[in-house]
Amino acid sequence: MKTIKSKLALAIALPAAIIANAASADVLFWSTQAKPVQEQQAMREQVLAGAGTVDYQANDGGPWLTRLQAELEAGSGSIGVLGALHGDYAAMDAADLVDLSDLGVESNSATFNNLAKLGESSLQYIPWMQASYIMAANKEALQYLPEGANIDALTYDQLIAWAANVHEATGEPKFGFPAGPKGLKHRFFQGYLYPSFTDGVVRTFASDKAVGAWEKFLELWEHTNPASTNFSFLQEQLLSGDAWIAFDHTSRLAQAFNERPDDFVAFPAPAGPEGRGFMPVLAGVAIPRTAPDMDAAKELVQHMLKPETQIATLRATNFFPVVDVNLPGDLPPAVAAAGNAVAKMSSSSDANPGLLPAGLGSKGGDFSKVYSDTFERIVLAGQDIRMVLDDQKGKLAAIMNETGAPCWAPDAPSEGACPVE
């Protein structure tokens, strides 16, 4: 009985002490990026070291959004600065974000700055860092490159032939594709496969060229490790040898290059008949209207855009700067490898860059689901391509009509909602 009483006293006394502790003046940096624990550590110790007292918290998307919505609804909160992808901000009401045009910082890319306006006339978030998706291969696979193929200018046909050669030589399918539950497969279809084969994403969704694109992907799938439906970070499979040739986000390949830099090569995504499709990834920093200390939050946003902070961020997260910086020579191997591959990809003569989906608002997730579902039905369930595309086309058109989002590159511009042709 006595112990129960003392426990009760503890139960009542402790929270009181802890409530008193909570009132500190940290700026809370509420982020969905730099989530892996070692990246968080680097964010806290290196990137934010000179920025005063910043509490960097990385979260899953669900808690991130729920907490933010709760603070907006309650009208007061503790989040000072938000860090998230363009798509996360696009799903929000722009009025909930503080107008950041007067901060005097922006990215060096007019396209990014335009995206950051979220359809308003001023910056709603500040572009923070960028990345892309590239290919990586184990050097042992290089001997099986098809004759005449240049690894820096592969076509989809050559990639398939290469994967087939490896398959034949090793007896195992060794192409790795991020089709796992946390994998970013939808970005491959939106930013790579569709632009490369159809020169579009929405307009051409169910075109005859799209049927050709999916047929090509099925050919590639024959030489893809079937366990790919469980792969979400291809660095793991590159390191374990389950995949010799892989497609993934630059920061999801980084560990492989950093651990065994001499064993892997990074190279541009392949090209199709309509060019070399590729997609940038853009993260931004923003301030919610409920930020407790607006000045401190704005200072932190400015800090994130300083060239030296951008270089520290690059080291910490493998996301590249969005402002002009002089890159030092001693960057980690993954940064050098990925940076080279991205540079070759974007400067190739047949480059066909796709922009991030814009104007979809909260429907961004549904939009990506159309592509993931199409993949699952055609590739995993083996359904007829034409039938699936005609079926999914209706869902895509409904999303576009509901949001009224106009076409983005590489689709031709539209008046009003982007049509699915």
Binding site: L14, I18, N21, L28, P36, V37, Q40
Partner: protein, 276 residues
């Protein structure tokens, strides 16, 4: 002769099956924990390499990373506080409810039992938004006590149901006998019933502890500066490199194991009651 022979062989086979089942059940629990330990104490190269070794190489780099991971210790302490408060609250609230359900007849008893279970019927992500808004307005937001309240709500159904069945297992005549010997309802409970159900209370306390220890979503949304270990670590492990996943998982599992180990004798005592 032949019957006794077949009897001994049956007995022997029975023993063998019994032993094999015990070994299988132990392996079921211990092998994953052992593999967790081996991979925690392996270098990154060994973790992603193949074939795997069953002997750890005692590379502590992964654990050292977490030792230097700022906020770990305070998150661990927060987790213990929240779990402890949850434990106490769910027993203080749940045990009387269990007693009432087992000893008294009242209108709406069945409905009450159903309603208690209902708190588990709604997924937390659904409840978290309005709850957080309310907590911010009331001032409970980002406090250990506030989070413990939420976890208590989750743990109470177990506390009520476990204590209800325990109280039901204790004959009311025992209590009545104590009343005839000069006990009041309260002292009768204190000297006769409580000692008998203490092991069961421990069991429901363990449930409460584990529920609170493992809960992620509410903890991630409702605490910011006072994060619990799961909110702090678990939601970020899925995107971390494999060797840190193992080390982080190990760190999350060990305190719960230590706790259960510490209270195990009360648990065995409860099974003793059940066998009585």
């Amino acid at each position: 002769m032949s019957t006794s022979l077949s009897n001994t062989s049956t007995v022997r086979a029975g023993r063998w099956v019994y032993g094999a089942s015990v070994a299988l059940l132990c392996a079921w629990v211990l092998v994953p924990i052992y593999l967790l330990l081996v991979n925690t104490l392996s270098s990154p190269a060994a973790v992603s390499g193949f074939p795997k070794s069953f002997v750890p190489e005692f590379d502590t780099a992964s654990l050292e990373f977490f030792a230097g991971f700022s906020g770990m210790v305070s998150a661990l302490i927060n987790s213990i506080y929240v779990a402890a408060i949850t434990m106490v609250l769910s027993i203080v609230i749940g045990a009387p409810a269990g007693y009432a359900l087992s000893r008294f007849d009242f209108k709406g008893k069945e409905l009450f039992r159903l309603l208690i279970l209902l708190t588990r019927a709604f997924p937390l992500p659904l409840l978290a938004l309005p709850l957080t808004v309310m907590f911010i307005q009331v001032g409970l937001d980002d406090t250990i006590f506030g989070l413990a309240l939420v976890h208590t709500t989750l743990a109470i159904p177990f506390a009520v149901l476990i204590t209800f069945s325990l109280f039901s297992g204790i004959p009311v005549e025992l209590e009545e006998a104590s009343w005839t010997l000069g006990c009041t309802r309260l002292t009768g409970f204190r000297y006769v019933v409580l000692p008998l159900i203490l092991p069961g209370i421990t069991a429901s306390a363990i449930f409460a502890f584990v529920i609170s220890w493992n809960e992620v979503f509410a903890a991630a949304v409702l605490t910011i500066e006072n994060r619990t270990l799961t909110a702090f670590l678990l939601q970020n492990l899925d995107t971390s490199p494999l060797h840190l996943k193992f080390a982080g998982g190990f760190i999350l599992v060990v305190p719960a194991l230590v706790f259960i180990f510490a209270v195990r004798k009360y648990l065995f005592a409860m099974w003793g009651i059940a066998n009585r």
